[in-house]
Assembly symmetry: C2
Homo-oligomer: 508 residues x 2
Amino acid sequence: MTPAEARVRHETYRNKIVSAQEAVQWIRPGDTVAISGFASAGTPKAVTPALAEHIRRTRATGGDFRINLLTGASVASDTERMLADVDGIALRMPYQAEPTARGRINEGRMDYVDIHLSHVAQQVWEGYYGHVDVAVVEISGITENGELIPATSIGNNKTWLDVAEKVILEVNSWIPAAMDGVHDVYYGTALPPNRRPIDLTHVEDRIGQPYFRIDPERVVAVVETDRPDSATALTAPDATSQAIAEHVLDFFAHEVAAGRLPADTLLPLQSGVGNVANAVLAGLDSGPYRGLTCYSEVIQDGMLDLVKHGTVRFASATALALSEAGLNDFVENIDFYRDHIMLRPQEISNHPEIVRRLGIIAMNGMLEADVYGNVNSTHVMGTRIMNGIGGSGDFARNGYLSMFLSPSTARGGAISSIVPMVPHVDHTEHDVQVIVTEQGLADLRALSPRRRSRVVVERCAHPDYRAELLDYIERAEAAPGAGHTPHLLGEAFSFHERYQRTGTMHAS
Amino acid sequence: MTPAEARVRHETYRNKIVSAQEAVQWIRPGDTVAISGFASAGTPKAVTPALAEHIRRTRATGGDFRINLLTGASVASDTERMLADVDGIALRMPYQAEPTARGRINEGRMDYVDIHLSHVAQQVWEGYYGHVDVAVVEISGITENGELIPATSIGNNKTWLDVAEKVILEVNSWIPAAMDGVHDVYYGTALPPNRRPIDLTHVEDRIGQPYFRIDPERVVAVVETDRPDSATALTAPDATSQAIAEHVLDFFAHEVAAGRLPADTLLPLQSGVGNVANAVLAGLDSGPYRGLTCYSEVIQDGMLDLVKHGTVRFASATALALSEAGLNDFVENIDFYRDHIMLRPQEISNHPEIVRRLGIIAMNGMLEADVYGNVNSTHVMGTRIMNGIGGSGDFARNGYLSMFLSPSTARGGAISSIVPMVPHVDHTEHDVQVIVTEQGLADLRALSPRRRSRVVVERCAHPDYRAELLDYIERAEAAPGAGHTPHLLGEAFSFHERYQRTGTMHAS
């Protein structure tokens, strides 16, 4: 008995164990294929490479073979790249973070639909993406009762298992068996008019069950794997990230002093991934806080430290993207962590109802903000997509405090993150309350646009760009009929056009 | 005993009856004043004019006098104008629709903060707008127990009564006493971390109480009035509005046929006010629907017909903006209407949790949309504010279907409502699913930007502008490194710049 077979504790499923090469025969050209995976955690590791190879061979014999690929969020880079390399993806939804796929999207050779992560499940249930032919879902095991034990991410897996005509399961014995019990799979969602209140009032509330359920008739193949997630280890925060984090921490202290945030615990924190988010977490760990909570999408190594120290009492997410060291720590101390960490479907981790109720402090990265507080999270120079909006809009729009964080410049100073007007808006002025760079923090709450512009430039813009930004604002305000939100339409993108022309936003 | 006194059925309050001139003495320069009023329904009719006069006289003697004015949404135009005429407003929040005030805002002489209507209460509770010094709230009466019977709108009145240091009540005996019982005032909201699920699962659910409660100590004055709301009568739908409505109705039929909407009842409808919304309602009334529901902000005359005919089973809103004829009908048949119409606080009528749960079909007007589906609802030519975002974002962001409706041109054809890029974004591409003009309906669901642009132009743009829009799209796609969302930044606002230069978006 292989390690994977030991995890398939139900005979019906043991009889369906096949190789990945056999399993992909169930996937046909033109299929809509929904796979597991969120931020590189829980991507199927055997079937997707086999599918890419299957597509390559079909192509080599003159056949066409492209699928529509639905996921939780980003998936493991090598997987996305393999499928993009063989031009195997016709349509991609909802989020991607891999250069080859991104290149095809930006060349107009792959359709990409960039939607809020909280909208994916309901839109697929409604059939906006047509029939889901095949789901490929990584799990960590199958119980004696035929229930499926989730892997290191949940994402949209509950939905994929519910809606797909055919299901291929990857049972990955690399996933520590001890993770059993970390998951909370909610089966109470419905389409309107049959929706009910979701009874989650604290981040640690368990409202579902630990396992997925599935009709075994729809499972066409079970594939064994034993391969690790490709989570990246964290890098130590740099000076810029630390400066941003310090501004955030000062702001929290200010809000606590003003009586707008609870002193020890603040409110549930959501933060994106990456250097800045990690610096904020590290800063919180050395601050005055005890018993914080997090209600977010991804748990990385840094969070384990905060949980161990008691800085964070409970962290809810939809994916566990740990390094090898982090995972070892997690498994060794699983009985402790199981009381402090929970994974949920992304429709719950990002749900408008819950985000509003919990009063989440949303901290997300951005590409750029304009002087009036509109944020571009997705499109470089307004046209070339980076990764997608992900969950940032779910948290920013319905959360309690909506903060966007970024270094004030990129590309060695050639790009200013503060511009006269953003050429793509993902978060409107109505949904952005605080902007932070290493230069400072702009609190835009209760300010009219003309007041916001001064605050954004003076607090957040890099000194190299401040004079030109202020000049733009002043000339826009002086123009005839300047209006509530003064702009000079002929110059609004002057920073971007200069960059396109000269390779820098700096005036010569 | 005056008619108003007959409505003040509690001695404590009868002893506080004063004139409006006396009442406004409680309002001081620099105060933050929160008044009732939503879409012209329920604006205080005596105290606000007296306040304007009080400010004028103070000014005439050399004193300065400006207040910060918080409301539900727009208030009666004459009221807003009187206060703007005397330059009495320093800061205005959250929505306005009156030319004099709008002019001051666009000249940069009045601060205006344009926020989602569902955010107002929580932001005021949190103190983002500082201390609320005085609330002026119109009611229809005071019960023997000292409870306050709401007027024709609720808006933020519950919040104003809770948070204001001093309260001035206007008891308006013009409001039919029979309206008692139409209101549902929810007292279950809280600031995080103390929020609980809101137990509303059907539009008709009663979750609160019919009256406001208040500590009588804080009521400094009671003023009698007997003046009507200034609701505007509806005009008959024109051909353009009817064409838009027909496209909407065809779309509903298509969605029903696809199994995505319940056949008889669809899902709860939200629609803005105005000609297009009325045409849609009229179209629904002659369609196959029975037992529809509405969960919206404002009920106008047209809705009464649908309720009478059984087309609409129940309509929930926060304001009742009826014509005199409509109000007479409402009062004469109050026992019938009370079973079919309910008014709620705007934090409930627009609440993200409820909007998502009910699965609302959101139909809102717009100024313009761009070819990729970003919508500008607020800023003419990107700079001059019209009215504000109002509740459109509350419904579009969290609703089930997000539709934006507009004639394809304005100003006799000189302005195209479909443009290469909108110079102000209130609803991003992620939150806009359907765009409708009299030309047709663009269903953007599940489409990548390059596919959306063709659909928007071919379905929605006026024929006079189609060729130029297509030319823009094609050249943007052909540009080097065109990207996911092709744009030519130097030309993105060419329509708007031409309009500013020549008075028309038409190429000569």
